[in-house]
């Protein structure tokens, strides 16, 4: 084990790697988002958009330009990441109420054009990131219990989701329809991943 970074006195809920491979972004149970510089071995930014409201998930765009976080009030926060002279700066762009219950996962699509938010309200919502307006494009309805995780296909056209209802679903994002259900589990599904990058 090489490094340890601390969120003092609380629990870390999520961590993602910046596409530049030089920074980490983590979030915690007291509502903080921390940016860690792996070269300087230090925390370079702390963002607290809503104090004491747990943030369960953070997502960074594949081009490194946008950071998104979702919290237990169902609020999404968006920051633009601007490469400054030495350290990048994080400019708050927007925040909006996405769901009436916990956001369990927020995920930007590989092509950065959409944001998926998964929730305890059993839905997944797909938002357009165009012009930072975050307009709601689709609500994916069908899961019967909390949705815990999602994964985009490499072409950003499909989403796989995992739910406490014992099923995973494959959604066609052009129509919002479930095209496959994977339901032979006997317990809640809490994580999913998709490998579709090397189909020859």
């Amino acid at each position: 084990m090489q490094r340890t970074y601390k969120h003092e006195g609380t629990m870390v809920n999520d961590v993602v790697i910046h596409p530049n491979q030089g920074e980490l972004i983590s979030c915690d149970q007291v509502g903080s988002v921390k940016i860690w510089d792996l070269g300087e071995n230090t925390c370079t930014h702390e963002l607290v958009p809503a104090e004491d409201v747990p943030i369960r998930s953070v997502s960074i765009a594949s081009d490194g330009g946008t950071l998104v976080a979702g919290n237990n009030h169902g609020t999404v926060f968006v920051w633009r990441i601007q490469s400054g002279s030495d350290t990048p700066s994080l400019v708050p762009v927007t925040s909006f109420l996405a769901h009436p219950k916990y956001i369990t996962r927020c995920l930007l699509s590989p092509d950065t054009r959409h944001l998926a938010t998964c929730s305890a309200d059993t839905t997944v919502k797909i938002w357009s990131t165009k012009d930072y307006e975050y307009t709601l494009e689709r609500t994916l309805e069908g899961h019967q219990r909390w949705v815990w995780d999602a994964a985009f296909s490499a072409d950003s056209a499909y989403l796989v989701t995992a739910s406490s209802d014992h099923a995973a679903r494959l959604w066609d994002l052009a129509t919002g329809e479930t095209v496959r259900q994977y339901d032979s589990h006997h317990r809640s599904l809490v994580a999913c991943a998709l490998n579709d990058l090397n189909l020859a």
Partner: protein
């Protein structure tokens, strides 16, 4: 490979782009970077 060090539930994990290291988050309040080699 077993990565020992966290003292509570691991809540998040991601591989680096080339798979040479992993970052994890935990309810023990830490973010850890691990060498996979």
């Amino acid at each position: 490979m077993t990565l020992d060090g966290h003292t509570a539930n691991v809540t998040a994990l991601q591989y680096s782009a080339q798979g040479k290291w992993i970052v994890t988050g935990s309810e023990d309040g830490t973010v850890k970077v691990w060498d996979t080699r």
